[in-house]
């Protein structure tokens, strides 16, 4: 309605070509573009905030020591700056999380996409979203005060109060919805004709799901898994609360371990004077974490493009 009023008010609707330039429209477009550029500024901000202290860090600590020394103790006397314990802890907790999330998440996705009744699916998908919406500090609480005591009670080997196993398991459950939801989307997008062709050849439902639908949705599933890994590797609160704040270069998942994200949180929450090595250390580890997740996202995007099956 408003449209017609303004059209009649402006008098002659005759001019097909604009008679005068519309400055208002141009200004609006510029303002909107500015808003879109905020996201670019964010990325630049992240890179700038990381680069300077990281350079400061490597001016004082050798790159070789950073990447090869197996001891992480910036507060020790003498201090040591080997990032390997933090990296190994990150890989181990993320590995445990993947072992939980990929089988369970994929199976849930196959069930929801191929087997479940539409009514069941309508209930289950939002329920999984609930799991995804729970704050990580709550998962951390649960890992520390429920999962860890439970594991200590049932597992035969020794488990410390803070341990990588409990942290990794709970991170795994946290990322199940990512794997399940994105894989389900990918599988649902596989055209019904492929399934029907498979059934027509006498294949059972299981064979169709595993040999036809899964391969056809492969690129989407890989992207989902990598996204989940990257989320798990960057997860902070759960591994900080349940995994502990102790750098530990070990493969023993019953021991406390400090991941890169947990180190950043721990060191960053203290009162560290700007410009000191301790301050720069936070940013050096942050840069490494940032680059690692960036590489994973890049690989994920590449894989999606490489293995994408296009159906009309």
């Amino acid at each position: 309605m408003a449209m017609r009023d303004s059209a009649t008010a402006s008098g002659t609707p005759s001019s097909l070509a604009r008679s005068r330039p519309r400055h208002g429209e141009a200004i609006i477009k510029a303002v909107l573009l500015l808003a879109a550029l905020v996201s670019v500024a964010t990325t630049i901000g992240i890179v700038v905030s990381l680069v300077e202290p990281t350079i400061g860090f490597f001016a004082q600590i050798s790159v070789v020591e950073f990447f090869t020394s197996t001891e992480w103790g910036p507060l020790f006397e003498p201090p040591s700056y080997g990032v390997l314990p933090l990296v190994s802890a990150t890989l181990i907790t993320t590995g445990i999380a993947v072992l939980v999330a990929v089988p369970l998440g994929l199976a849930a996705a196959v069930y929801l996409s191929e087997y479940a009744d539409p009514r069941v699916r309508k209930f289950c998908k939002p329920a999984l979203e609930v799991l995804a919406g729970i704050p990580t500090v709550v998962f951390g609480f649960f890992a520390l005060s429920f999962v860890t005591p439970l594991l200590r009670g049932i597992l035969p080997f020794e488990i410390e109060i803070f341990n990588a196993l409990s942290a990794g398991l709970v991170v795994g459950f946290m990322i199940i919805p990512i794997v399940a939801s994105l894989s389900e989307d990918a599988m649902s997008a596989v055209p019904a004709g492929l399934r029907e062709g498979s059934y027509a050849l006498g294949a059972s439902k299981m064979v169709t799901s595993l040999r036809v639908v899964l391969p056809a949705a492969f690129s989407g599933i890989v992207a989902a898994v990598i996204l989940a890994i990257s989320r798990g590797a960057g997860e902070t609160m759960i591994v900080y609360m349940a995994g502990g704040g102790q750098p530990n270069f070990t493969l023993d998942i019953g021991k406390a371990m400090q991941t890169m994200a947990a180190f950043i949180a721990q060191a960053g929450s203290g009162d560290v004077p700007v410009g000191t090595v301790d301050y720069n250390t936070i940013f050096a580890v942050g840069s490494l974490l940032f680059v690692m997740t960036l590489v994973m996202n890049f690989v994920s995007a590449r894989l999606v493009r490489k293995f994408r099956e296009v159906y009309e």
Binding site: A2, I46, A108, V138, E235, A261, G268
Partner: protein, 296 residues
């Protein structure tokens, strides 16, 4: 669902050979889903059981206390969360929606700068939240000189959820059929008139739903705020955007780190409050989606 009925009869025709394997596979799939739900149920039950006895008015009427879990409350954390989230909403929602409008309605996809913006948003969505803490610490708190204040926290969380707001708003704007725009333009409306009077009103329910979900993510976020001064012991409500603050997830984290048993139950009770807030927001989002979503 013609798709579903065809395979079922097909299975019956072919299935006589290996029904057992098929059954086992199906049961394995269902139990995987069930395990995830059992975990969720265990988590919610545990938190409720632990927190219920301590869930009373002390929690929102009293200030935190280090010594006495009996009289400790979370009032400063609850008001802090309200301050930070309101400010986050004010900052990030207009920006996110504006960016989405630009990308959907104005951007020429063949131009490289528009593609850079798109790729950049995709990437930002998967940057770990702790890295935003580094951005907040290095740039917003120190370079901008905003210190450890409500505004620093709000800007950091705003940037963290900005990609979520943009992506949700874009989907909602894209769902408005082109014929609506063409009709409006054909009647002589300018592009902005078309957007503001036709496209946006039609897209608002979807944008609102996405915005609520983005804000509920910001409410539960703790990691970046650990680095931005929220861990300090705060016994007063924030009185402005430059005030010191703490938020509910960080208060919970602090209580969990205490060794005294009373704080454990206090933390559980505060988690129940946090989850109740999130449940309320999510229900509102679902209600909005079901009530106002248009099918074209």
């Amino acid at each position: 669902m013609a798709v579903l009925s065809t395979p079922r009869s097909a299975v019956q025709l072919a299935g006589k050979g290996q029904p057992l394997r098929e059954h086992v596979f199906r049961i394995a799939l269902i139990s995987s889903l069930a395990i995830a739900f059992v975990f969720l149920a265990a988590l919610l039950t545990y938190v409720l059981v632990e927190g219920w006895p301590r869930l009373d008015s002390r929690l929102w009427e009293n200030m935190p206390s280090i010594r006495n879990p009996e009289i400790a409350g979370a009032q400063s954390a609850i008001t802090g969360t309200l301050w930070v989230i309101s400010l986050t909403a004010v900052l990030t929602l207009p920006t996110g929606v504006a960016a989405a409008i630009y990308l959907e309605e104005y951007a020429d996809k063949t131009r490289w700068w528009n593609r850079v913006i798109e790729v950049n948003i995709q990437n930002l969505a998967s940057v770990p939240s702790i890295v935003y803490g580094i951005l907040g610490l290095g740039i917003i708190a120190r370079s901008f000189g905003l210190g450890f204040s409500v505004i620093t926290a709000a800007i950091t969380l705003g940037l963290l959820v900005l990609p979520v707001v943009i992506i949700a708003s874009r989907e909602s704007i894209r769902a408005v059929p082109p014929s609506i725009r063409e009709g409006s333009l054909a009647l002589g409306a300018t592009q902005w008139q078309t957007i503001s009077r036709q496209v946006l009103p039609a897209a608002i329910p979807g944008i609102a739903t996405g915005s609520i979900l983005a804000l509920s993510r910001a409410i539960g976020e703790a990691a970046p705020l650990l680095m931005l001064g929220a861990v300090s012991f705060i016994r007063f409500n924030p009185d402005g955007v430059m005030a010191s603050y703490t938020v509910l997830p960080i208060q919970i984290f602090n209580w969990i780190s205490q060794s005294r048993e009373g704080f454990h139950y206090l933390a559980a009770a505060a988690i129940v409050v946090l989850l109740a807030i999130l449940l309320l927001m999510n229900s509102a989002a679902i209600w909005l989606r079901n009530r106002y979503q248009k099918r074209w």
